[in-house]
Every structure is written in structure tokens, then in C-alpha cells.
């Protein structure tokens, strides 16, 4: 196991190094100069040059890469060109929106998907199964930004139960903060819940066909007992995979939803930073997200071993 951990960590580091190169090179070729963007139409050439020097943009790319990566390692993400604040602080602020939102949405999606998937699987072919499956088909097919628009229309504008968007900050109270994350979380969770329900169901159905389920029934377990005690944990591996993927998606892929609800999250930070050519922010946030994805994948792998003892020693 230790062996496996070391090996995985090495791979993880290699991935991050390659990713940092890819990110840096890709973003550095983006046309557009942050300094001239900041100074606008009337800026004089010497002003732009002065700003470039102030931002450190006049240094060579290689030097900038190493100072950036060196900073990342020591936790110093640099200073945002446009906001003039430490990138680490900005990211931390945004993280406090994106992370809770992702967890909230994931929780919702899991809370919907588990019972729905289990229920549908246990009543395979029945009316409930058919209805649940039809709903998940709809859920998978609905574009989430469109769904978000409809949610705002109904719950914020017509019913006035929620605010239409924005984020008051955690200082405004946990309830207020969670309330403002509710509609976005629902918009994000619905398609994810549909996917997860389908995976849960089909994974369970696969497991239900396994020989050991017959053994469990032969012991005298009822169908439901056998399902809960023997099938569920065995069906978890594909479900965990999907949950891992969804978490990564929710952390950064929520850009569109963050826009619809004007939430100050990571996705929108990237969007804005690219528009304003705040390259150092883009680079750092992308790296952070890559790190998150890689870490989540790593954790999911560990979770496999927790779920399935066969994987513990083998790797």
C-alpha cells in the first residue's frame, strides 16, 4: 500500500509538472497585453511600458515560468495584475464560494441519486423504475444553464423565495449564504443526479446478477436486506468514479451557472481573468484546479481500496 502511495505520488507530481508547462505555454501565447487592457484607449506608450515593468511583464518567459512555479511551491501565487492583490487571497475567497457550492451540489446529487438509483434497481422493470429512468433521461438531456434560467424565473422572480443570484458572503450568516447557493446547487445537481442515478442503478443491476447475491438470498436474507448489505458496497466502484469526476466538474465547470447566478466563484474568476488578461491569475487558478482534479482522482483511487479489499494489496 505504501509502495502504491509513493508510486502514485510520483505520477501525480509528474502530471503536475507537465500540466504547469502546458498551462504556462498555452496561456502565454494568448494574444492581448494585460497592461494595455488596464490602461485603456487613451494610454500613452510610455505609460504602458511603465506598467509592464511594474507588473514584471518585461522579464523573459523562462524567468517568469520559474518564478511562478517557484512561487506556487512555496504557496506564493504572485500578485494579480489587475486586482493588485495576492492571487492566493483571491483564490481563497473564490474557493469559499466554489467549494461549498460544489459540495452542496454533490450532496444534493448524491442524496437524490442514491435512493432513486437503489429504488429503481430494486424494482427493475416496474412503473417506478420506468418513471425514474424517464426522469433521469430528461435530467441528463436538459442544458443546465437553461434549467438555471427557468429556476430563476420561477423561484426568484415569480415566487420570490430566493434571491436571483449573488453571494452575500459567509459573514452574512450560514443560512443566508446557503440560501443563495441553493438555486445554483439545484441547477448543477439535477443533471449530475440523473447521471449518478443511472450509474447507481446499472451498477446495482450488474451486482444483483452476481453469484454472491444468490448466496445472500440462500442465507435467508430478503431481497432488500441482500441489496443493502451485499449489493450496495459492491456497486460503489463505478459510482465513486462518477462522483470523483463530478466533483472536479462542479469545482470549475460551473462557470456558466456561476454567470447565470453571478456568483463570485473560481470559474467566473478564470473567465474574468482571461478577459482582462490577468494571466498570472489564470495560470494559478488553472493549476489549482488541475491539482484538485488530480487529488480527487487520487482520493477516489484510495476510496476504491476502502470499498474493495481486493484492491488493497494488489496494487
Amino acid at each position: 500500500m505504501l509502495h502504491y502511495l509513493i508510486k502514485r505520488t510520483l505520477i501525480l507530481l509528474a502530471t503536475l509538472i507537465v500540466a504547469s508547462l502546458v498551462v504556462f505555454v498555452t496561456i502565454e501565447v494568448v494574444p492581448g497585453d494585460p497592461a494595455s487592457y488596464m490602461l485603456g484607449l487613451n494610454a500613452q506608450e510610455d505609460t504602458v511600458a511603465a506598467l509592464r515593468a511594474e507588473l514584471g511583464l518585461d522579464k523573459s518567459r523562462v524567468a517568469r515560468y520559474f518564478s511562478w512555479v517557484g512561487g506556487l511551491v512555496t504557496g506564493d501565487f504572485g500578485t494579480s495584475y489587475t486586482y493588485r492583490t495576492p492571487v492566493a487571497d483571491m483564490v481563497a475567497d473564490r474557493m469559499w464560494v466554489s467549494l461549498p457550492l460544489a459540495i452542496y451540489a454533490l450532496l444534493l446529487s448524491t442524496l437524490i441519486a442514491f435512493p432513486a438509483g437503489v429504488y429503481a434497481a430494486s424494482r427493475r422493470g416496474g412503473t417506478t423504475d420506468t418513471v425514474v429512468m424517464a426522469l433521469t433521461q430528461l435530467g441528463v438531456a436538459i442544458p443546465n444553464f437553461w434549467f438555471a434560467m427557468l429556476l430563476v424565473l420561477l423561484f426568484a422572480i415569480n415566487l420570490g423565495w430566493f434571491s436571483a443570484g449573488g453571494f452575500p458572503g459567509w459573514d452574512a450568516g450560514v443560512f443566508q449564504a446557503l440560501k443563495s447557493l441553493t438555486l445554483p446547487a439545484i441547477a448543477l445537481a439535477l443533471p449530475q443526479a440523473s447521471i449518478l442515478t443511472r450509474v447507481m442503478r446499472s451498477s446495482l443491476l450488474d451486482v444483483l446478477n452476481e453469484d454472491y447475491m444468490r448466496t445472500a438470498r440462500a442465507k435467508g436474507l430478503t431481497r432488500r436486506q441482500a441489496l443493502w448489505k451485499h449489493a450496495l458496497r459492491n456497486a460503489m466502484v463505478p459510482v465513486l468514479t462518477i462522483i470523483g469526476l463530478q466533483f472536479s466538474f462542479l469545482l470549475a465547470g460551473a462557470i456558466i451557472i456561476e454567470n447565470v447566478f453571478y456568483l463570485p466563484g473560481l470559474g467566473r474568476l478564470i473567465f474574468q481573468s482571461i478577459a482582462s488578461r490577468d494571466l498570472i491569475v489564470v495560470e494559478s487558478v488553472v493549476m489549482l484546479l488541475v491539482l484538485a482534479v488530480v487529488l480527487v482522482t487520487f482520493l477516489v483511487d484510495l476510496a476504491y481500496a476502502w470499498v474493495d479489499p481486493r484492491l488493497r494489496g494488489a496494487r
Binding site: A14, V29, P143, L153, I157, V286, L289, T297
Partner: protein
């Protein structure tokens, strides 16, 4: 029994495909004609689905939009397949060796970047447009197909008929093409349908944030974006493209499910 999802899926997909195809030859109105005076008309005998905020015929817009969505998604999935499947097959044929490791780590690397991020980065570098949307979605499909075909090929490589072919002296690439590929074709078709539907959603999402096809080419995502602010006064403008996306994706997913059941010999035997 299994036709339950195949048939409606096929009908929906056929509907939108034919709408897209017909739009090449004929649309009720020219979608490049802007006539502000006749905007926001409701459904009538002339404009079946009314007109949009520029006075363009909604039905025509939807038809041409179908073409954009379908073309982007198909080409993107095609790229994913054409690159991903050979990579997956090569990885499986060299399982455990350096090439396999290299391809799979490359896959992980691509997977580590959230999809929309890559799209945004690409469009930031090369500008927004249908072609870049295709590339962005295509890049994302590569590891999907590489993983799928590697996984399926790996299990096939253990089968006796592959052993038999190897015993007959056939090389790895010949076996991959002759024996592996035809046997993972079903999987690829099913996954292709699913990726296709995801591609349509992705294209809609990209167009929605303005990174997809550029005007004057109509696209469903942009129609939705344009209608966003009008949702209270002219809800039908947001309704039709949304429904078009929903139904197309739904149709493709149903078709994919149906195909899987239909192509799966195990399930077929049950019937």
C-alpha cells in the same frame, strides 16, 4: 420491449437530422434577413413558430441551428474517435509497456483539465468560433474514446480467439484492426451516440457564453443566450431552442440506450 427507447430515440434524432439536412436546401425564410419591424411575432400561418428579436423566422433559425449543433458535435466526436480509438488500441496492444503508460498518462493529463476551461483557453488563444468549439470538444473526446477502446480491447486481448490469431502469426496491429476493432464497434457506436449528445450540450453551452459559432450562423446556444433577457416578455424565444436541445439530446440518449440493448448479444438472446 427493448424497442421502447430505440424507436422514440430514432424518431427524435431523425427529426432533427432531417431538419438540419433540409435546411441546406430550403428553409421557410432566409435566416440572414433581419427585419426589425416584424420582430417578436407570435406563431402564425406564415411564421409557424413566430419570429425572434431581429424578426427572423424561428422555425428557420431552429432548422439551421440544428445543422450547426449537429455539425459541430459530429465533427468533434469524429475527431475524438479518429484519434482516441487508435490510441486506445495501441495502448492495449502494448499493455504494460511504455507506450501504454505514455498514452494513459497523457489521457489523465487531458482529463485533469476541466472541459470548459480548455474551451475557454482555446478560444482565448484563437478566438471564438465553431472551429475552435469543435477542437475544444474534440480534445475532450479523445481520452474518452482512448480509455473506452483500451479497456474493451484489453479484455478482448485475453480472449482465446485473439490467442488463436496470435498463434496464427498475426501481428498486433493487424489483430487490432481485424479482430479488436470490429468487436468494440458496438461499444464505440453506443459511446459515440452518448458523446454526440454531450457534444450538442457542450456546443450549446459554449455558444451560450459566446464561444461557439459566430453570428450570423444561428446556433441553439446563442439563440438561448439572446433570448435570456427576453424570457419574461417573449418566453417562447427561450423555450424553443431549449426544447430543441433537450429533445435532440434526449433522442440521442434514448437511441444510445436502445442501440446498446439492441446490439448487446446477451440481451438479444433474452428477447
Amino acid at each position: 420491449m427493448k424497442l421502447r427507447s430505440l424507436l422514440p430515440g430514432a424518431v427524435l434524432v431523425l427529426l432533427f437530422f432531417s431538419a438540419a439536412l433540409v435546411s441546406y436546401l430550403w428553409t421557410p425564410f432566409d435566416v440572414t434577413l433581419i427585419d426589425i419591424k416584424s420582430r417578436f411575432q407570435s406563431s402564425s400561418a406564415v411564421h409557424w413558430l413566430g419570429t425572434d428579436h431581429y424578426g427572423r423566422d424561428m422555425l428557420s433559425m431552429l432548422m439551421v441551428g440544428a445543422r450547426t449543433s449537429i455539425a459541430v458535435a459530429i465533427v468533434a466526436v469524429g475527431i475524438g474517435m479518429l484519434v482516441g480509438v487508435p490510441l486506445g488500441l495501441a495502448a492495449a496492444a502494448n499493455r504494460g509497456r511504455f507506450l501504454d503508460e505514455f498514452i494513459m498518462r497523457g489521457n489523465d493529463l487531458v482529463f485533469a483539465f476541466p472541459a470548459l476551461l480548455i474551451a475557454i483557453m482555446i478560444t482565448a488563444v484563437y478566438g471564438a468560433g465553431a472551429l475552435n468549439a469543435i477542437i475544444a470538444i474534440g480534445i475532450f473526446n479523445i481520452p474518452v474514446f482512448a480509455r473506452l477502446s483500451r479497456g474493451a480491447a484489453l479484455s478482448l486481448w485475453k480472449r482465446d480467439f485473439i490467442l488463436a490469431a496470435r498463434a496464427a502469426g498475426k501481428g498486433a496491429s493487424r489483430i487490432s484492426v481485424e479482430h479488436i476493432l470490429p468487436n468494440i464497434m458496438n461499444l464505440l457506436i453506443v459511446q459515440g451516440t452518448i458523446q454526440f449528445s454531450l457534444g450538442i450540450l457542450a456546443e450549446a453551452g459554449l455558444s451560450f457564453v459566446g464561444l461557439g459559432a459566430q453570428p450570423p450562423i444561428p446556433s441553439w446556444g446563442r439563440m438561448l443566450a439572446d433570448s435570456q433577457t427576453l424570457i419574461m416578455t417573449e418566453p417562447q424565444l427561450a423555450l424553443y431552442p431549449g426544447l430543441a436541445i433537450l429533445l435532440t439530446v434526449l433522442g440521442l440518449n434514448l437511441l444510445g440506450d436502445g442501440l446498446r440493448d439492441w446490439l448487446d448479444p446477451r440481451l438479444r438472446r433474452e428477447r
